[in-house]
């Protein structure tokens, strides 16, 4: 069996880690020979997921964020972003474009962007336990 490459990151929910997390995932994805557009989409989706942990999951304290990436067969990048924060009571409502519980510095477009930039997107959450975002992006094979 072929051993698939993976990496796991763990860091506190400081906003300075937003840039670190999206750059680290982009660096890991670079071995899959992505196009600039694919790399941009991956960076954006990771930025959204990690920012949500920082802003919403741990609103009043620092908590741990875990990012796990795997390379699957058929050139698929599998990304899981996980927190142990407040959780989401109504998942359908949270995913709605422009829905936000944040202030005027939030746009409510995070999940909409993750959904449209990734090949697949799954959100699971339990109030009081935490939230997990599972995304996959299939990369074009370049001739």
């Amino acid at each position: 069996m072929k051993f698939n490459n993976f990496m796991i990151l763990e860091f506190p929910s400081k906003s300075s880690n937003e840039a670190f997390a999206r750059s680290a995932v982009a660096c890991f994805a670079a071995q899959m020979d992505p196009t600039l557009e694919e790399l941009g989409d991956i960076r954006t989706a990771v930025s959204e997921a990690v920012t949500n942990c920082i802003v919403h999951a741990y609103p009043n304290e620092l908590g741990i964020i875990t990012v796990r990436c795997r390379i699957l067969k058929d050139n698929i990048l599998d990304i899981v972003v996980k927190d142990k924060g407040v959780g989401i009571a109504d998942i359908e409502q949270a995913k709605r474009p422009m829905f936000t519980t944040g202030g005027s510095d939030r746009s409510g477009m995070g999940f909409t962007i993750m959904e449209s930039f990734m090949t697949s997107f799954e959100l699971s959450s339990e109030p009081g336990k935490g939230t997990t975002v599972h995304m996959r992006r299939r990369l074009q094979r370049r001739k």
Partner: protein, 105 residues
């Protein structure tokens, strides 16, 4: 966060730089609102030429600038948007709310 701005014939140009994410968005939102309030321009131009990355926090920056300009019955224009920011603006429908000049280079 780093930005420069200048006023000419009632046109306020604000040149943004670098990566716009949640980490710096609040500062941008407040600084742009402050400039618009101070100069009450007819047109505010947000120049994205040196912006290499935006996420949905960048959408909030644009929407807040749009709100400030509507309050003084002025117009908001975006210029110099690179490919990645343009994809984010399109996905959010912002490109239908504000005028965009010299898109995707």
């Amino acid at each position: 966060m780093q930005f420069t701005s200048f006023l000419e014939n009632g046109h306020l140009t604000v040149a943004l730089t670098g990566e716009i994410d949640h980490h710096c968005a609040k500062n941008y939102i407040q600084s742009i609102a402050g400039k618009i309030e101070a100069y009450t321009p007819d047109v505010c131009i947000l120049d994205f030429q040196d912006v290499t990355f935006v996420d949905s926090s960048g959408i909030a920056v644009v929407i807040n600038a749009l709100r400030s300009m509507s309050q003084i019955e002025g117009k908001l224009v975006l210029t110099g948007i690179c490919a990645q920011p343009m994809r984010v603006f399109r996905a959010s429908g912002i490109d239908k709310l504000v005028e965009i000049k010299e898109a995707v280079r």
